[in-house]
């Protein structure tokens, strides 16, 4: 699937790092770009729809395990969207870390605590009075800004971007369009210190979790006290 959008014969791309790359494009046959676009559109619509459906279902379900499963659906669909955006490593990391590790932890806790349906007490008044209008305003604001800056039309991005992507890939010498090499270059050279600090952070988190979840001696858990009801 090496189809590209309709593009000029050659394109010069100015990268954010200050480098500039010139790339000569081979003329592609006219039918080819349509396929890629159509496929992209179909995949986007399916998985964006799944994302939204999952997120809404997360709110509607009253049992935590159903909410957890909806969240897994959201995360997996996001992984596909990452693939569409050319971030294949992140897509898989999303599946392994989020859907495969973090959410397993959630499901595990729900199973362990045997948490039942939630009570419909409908929350505090502050959340209703200020929270929901604030969310609506936030959403409207974000949407306006996005549409203002990015524009809704496809013409603005489309062709130029796809060509630019080709140029960058050719410049990097990556034939199989893997961004893994670039990613690791930045991660392990420029951002090595933050990376190492993260590992310390995770170690501390593990220790904290162990300390918090450990049962202390002679501390009768409330679960057993109220188990009879």
């Amino acid at each position: 699937m090496a189809e590209r959008a309709l593009a000029p014969k050659a394109i010069v791309v100015y990268l954010p790092t200050g480098r500039c790359v010139e790339h000569r494009l081979q003329p592609t046959d006219a039918a080819a770009p349509k396929n890629g676009e159509l496929m992209h559109l179909i995949l986007f619509l399916i998985f964006a729809g799944l994302c939204l459906a999952g997120a809404i279902n997360l709110l509607l379900q009253s049992h935590p395990i159903n909410s957890a499963l909806s969240l897994i659906v959201v995360m997996s669909s996001l992984a596909v969207l990452y693939l569409l955006l050319g971030a294949e490593f992140l897509a898989i990391a999303q599946i392994i870390v989020y859907a495969g590790a973090i959410m397993v932890l959630f499901v595990f806790v729900v199973m362990l605590l045997n948490a039942g349906r939630e009570d419909r007490t409908m929350g505090s008044r502050a959340a209703k009075l200020i929270g929901f209008p604030a969310v609506a305003v936030l959403m409207a604001l974000l949407a306006t800004v996005i549409v203002r800056i990015q524009g809704l039309g496809a013409a603005q991005l489309g062709a130029g971007l796809a060509a630019a992507q080709t140029a960058v890939e050719t410049a990097a010498g990556a034939q199989d369009t893997s961004n893994l090499a670039q990613l690791s270059q930045v991660l392990f050279h420029e951002l090595l210190l933050p990376f190492e600090v993260t590992s310390v952070l995770i170690l501390i988190a593990i220790l904290g979790a162990v300390v918090l979840a450990r049962k202390t001696e002679g501390d009768e858990p409330a679960v057993e006290r109220t188990a009879a009801k």
């Binding site: 396929n35 392994i96 495969g100 397993v104 199973m111 893997s178």
Partner: protein, 348 residues
């Protein structure tokens, strides 16, 4: 190639591979019953067809015709969903596995792999990590204490051993410099057995870790605690019957085959012959293709044989032993292997 052609060809490839995989599953079950029978000094299935070869078909028919019981206290949606998740995850990961030489079919299609992905290895790990949900939800939704205990054990076991499994593969990726399974195999093909990762690549420790972790990941003996029948009456699939039970069963064996395929690709040179490129390729394209398939299947068969052999020989671990082994021995060993491999690669 138009989108429609691409789509149709993909559907055909998926259908063929799935059918072959399911046949493989059926005959792996037969292989296991036969071999375990011989290990225990009895015949194993021998009545249906010559040498009992038709036994899998009869087994399938039996499972299909059994009454499908759904206990009243189960949480229905998840109870029905769990076996589907299990089987789907087991079947999907075969999609990124290359079975033979890159072979240009019509329209430049790769006939021996459903899809060639540049992060293929990670895709397999990702799908494996999703498979946990099948087991976890089955146990929880069954509303049975044995099921719940089995699934809790199993989730903990799968998460623990997934770490060792992933870390054991880092050495391979360091050597190959790619996550593409085809690149990893081709890099081992040069001098045949001498450049296979397990020997020439000095990854035998990684192979041992992978083997152990894979047994735990597929819930196979000696790590079959989630379904330990002597203490949990069957673990997470206690409450399942008929086809739903069969789906868990098929998922387990499909996982075995996938794990065998991955071991073959990563450690044993994939579809390349033991003498690799030393003798030069055979002229005939068809013979070449068939030979590559033959080597691949033979290697996977050896792996499955080992699986059954281990099952017939080793006793089951205790639960605390299992956790200790995973975290205290396998994990540090895998990390040491990564350090050793990178030092070797740097100062070679």
């Amino acid at each position: 190639m138009t989108l429609l052609q691409f789509f149709l060809w993909s559907v055909v490839k998926v259908a063929v591979v799935t059918v072959i995989l399911l046949m493989g599953v059926a005959y792996t079950v037969l292989l296991e019953r036969k071999l375990v029978g011989r290990i225990q000094n009895r015949w194993g299935p021998s009545r249906v067809g010559p040498f009992g070869m038709l036994q899998p078909l009869v087994d399938g028919a039996k499972n299909f015709l059994k009454e499908d019981l759904i206990p009243t206290a189960v949480y229905r949606p998840l109870y029905l969903l769990a076996p589907i998740i299990s089987l789907t995850c087991a079947l999907v990961s075969i999609a990124v596995i290359p079975f033979g030489e890159p072979n240009a079919g019509p329209h430049g299609l790769d006939l021996f792999e459903i899809s060639n992905i540049n992060v293929g290895l990670l895709v397999i790990l990702g799908i494996t990590s999703i498979g946990v949900y099948g087991v976890a939800l089955a146990g929880w939704s069954s509303n049975n204490k044995y099921s719940l205990l089995g699934s809790l054990r199993s989730s903990a076991q799968l998460i623990s051993y997934e770490l060792a499994l992933g870390l054991s593969l880092v050495g391979i990726v360091l050597r190959a410099g790619s996550l593409n399974l085809r690149v990893i195999v081709e890099q081992q093909a040069e001098k045949g057995i001498a450049t296979w990762n397990i020997f020439g690549g000095l990854q035998f420790i990684a192979f041992f870790i992978y083997l152990t972790a894979a047994y735990a990941e597929t819930n196979r003996s000696p790590f079959d605690l989630p379904e330990a029948e002597s203490e949990l009456t069957g673990g997470y699939h206690t409450e399942y019957s008929s086809m739903k039970f069969a789906m868990f069963f098929m998922a387990e064996y499909a996982n075995m085959i996938t794990v065998g395929c991955v071991a073959t690709l990563l450690f044993l040179g994939g579809w390349t012959s033991p003498w690799g490129n030393l003798l030069g390729p055979v002229e005939n394209n068809l013979v070449n293709a068939l030979l590559s398939i033959f080597w691949f299947v033979a290697k996977v068969f050896c792996f499955l044989f080992l699986y059954v052999w281990v099952r017939g020989t080793l006793p089951r671990f205790r639960y605390d032993q299992l956790m200790n082994f995973g975290w205290r021995y396998l994990m540090p060993l895998a990390i040491l292997n990564i350090v050793g491999t990178s030092l070797w690669l740097a100062y070679r």
